[in-house]
């Protein structure tokens, strides 16, 4: 095993070009577990901790440009206004210690269906900017996940930034685990209302081979909200509408039975979370607020 320690982004890209098998390590929260438990022995470790760009976030007009290694704790503390869905998801990640280390880039790199950031990024409509010595490109989040723990990165590419539109409406994230903290998702659901485009987007975690959107549910809801003039009237959503949305969201799942939960439960729970999070976001929209933060506590 070799430890590559680039001092900056250009060096990191050069190292990755020279050693495409090199495994990037930033927060280490996935990779070090695999190394400690002898599940993986990469030929090269590519340490990204020294790459300053990855630790920063900024804004480009209506978007946040989020460095791949900005730790979840900072997303919770600094971005809950601009990216409320992602901040909420970040707050559910593992433990305070992990939130101090891990960032969205690692979640995307591992591309586990259980990654907590994914449903929020899907719902927000993020773009992942990846780069290699050959140049950079932006991959829409919808095209990023290509299989179980597989993503659209080429062997010589690294994740640099994630571009996420600033929220124009309420966003929520909810995840089921069998413990009240420090738990991997049995399944998860993210929702974002986009009043500017009068659309709704969603993301589902741990209920299909990859993180997915509930496309039929989104289409149904977007159409129903337009038809019923809900965006303008701010009326309460009829329970039947929320129920239909929930059912369609559950239908978007293609889950498996595993040690964390049954397929049937996952489908059921995604429906419950879809109904609830729609209720929370819509109530928040009606009240004209960006969504109250609850239980943020000391974070």
């Amino acid at each position: 095993m070799d430890f590559l320690r680039p001092a900056g982004w250009a060096e990191a890209l050069a190292a990755k070009a020279e050693h495409p098998a090199a495994v990037p390590i930033a927060g280490g929260t996935d990779l070090m577990v695999e190394i400690n438990f002898d599940h993986r022995r990469p030929e090269y470790l590519l340490d990204l901790n020294r790459v300053a760009e990855l630790q920063e976030w900024g804004t480009d007009g209506g978007s946040v440009r989020l460095g791949a290694s900005v730790p979840y704790a900072r997303i919770v503390a600094e971005l809950r206004g601009a990216l409320p869905g992602l901040a909420r998801a970040a707050h559910t990640v593992a433990s305070p210690q992990i939130r101090n280390r891990g960032g969205v880039g690692g979640n995307l790199g591992t591309a586990s269906p259980a990654g907590d950031a994914h449903p929020a990024l899907l719902a927000a409509g993020a773009e992942v900017e990846v780069e290699s010595v050959r140049g950079s490109r932006r991959i829409p989040i919808d095209e990023f996940f290509t299989g179980v723990k597989r993503n659209a990165l080429a062997p010589d590419e690294l994740i640099k930034w994630v571009h996420v539109k600033k929220a124009t409406g309420p966003q929520e994230f909810s995840k089921v685990g069998t413990r009240n903290a420090m738990v991997i998702a049995v399944c998860a659901f993210g929702i974002a209302l986009h009043p500017d485009t009068r659309t709704v987007r969603t993301g589902i975690g741990s209920a299909a081979p990859t993180p997915v959107r509930a496309a039929a549910a989104e289409e149904f809801l977007t159409a129903a909200l337009a038809e019923g003039n809900f965006w303008d009237s701010g009326r309460t959503l009829p329970p039947a509408l929320a129920a239909q949305f929930a059912e369609l969201a559950a239908g978007a799942c293609n889950p498996i039975d595993d040690v964390r939960g049954s397929a049937r439960y996952r489908r059921h729970a995604v429906g419950v979370m879809a109904r609830r999070t729609l209720g929370w976001t819509w109530e928040s929209y009606r009240r004209g607020t960006a969504g109250p933060t609850r239980g943020e506590g000391a974070a």
Binding site: M32, S95, P96, R101, G295, A299
Partner: protein, 156 residues
């Protein structure tokens, strides 16, 4: 490889470090600082919590090479002339049984009180939710953090 970083205010160096070693292993087995504990080595228990450039992290998930040139504080660095307020409170409140979770909890609690000098019970629970304890049922750990907060408040 060689790794050099500052631990508890002192520069330390380790040679012949295997690239897959964690910061935890280097601290425990190469630097004579076994206070940080090896309970799970998967970031699920908090027993190895140390401060890395001031921020509490699981030392088991930091690759040794990533610590190069950085500043690490372990449980061994908490005490000054006497025990720190948090350490003394853990002893006094009966928050220590087997003690294997204690070092990580102390580093986490120390940080919690630094961020939030008078935390509510819910804040304490959230702040320590990354540290497993199997002996105490956590009640006396809550007592200890409340006690440390009160004592720090008096001392301020």
């Amino acid at each position: 490889m060689r790794v050099t970083f500052t631990v508890n205010g002192r520069e330390q160096q380790a040679d012949d470090v295997w690239e897959g070693e964690s910061l935890l292993y280097v601290l425990r087995e190469r630097m004579g600082l076994p206070g940080s504990k090896n309970a799970c080595e998967q970031g699920e228990c908090g027993s190895c919590t140390v401060r890395l450039d001031g921020v509490p992290v699981c030392a088991c998930l930091v690759a040794a090479g990533q610590a190069e040139g950085r500043d690490v504080v372990t449980v061994e660095g908490l005490a000054g002339d006497g025990l720190s307020a948090v350490q003394q409170a853990f002893v006094d409140a009966g928050a220590v049984q087997c003690g294997f979770c204690t070092p990580g909890l102390l580093v986490a609690a120390d940080d919690l009180l630094e961020q939030n000098p008078s935390p509510s019970d819910a804040d304490i629970r959230e702040g320590l939710s990354g540290n497993l304890c199997r002996c105490t049922g956590y009640e006396k750990i809550l007592d200890a953090v409340r006690l440390a907060a009160a004592r720090r408040g008096e001392g301020a």
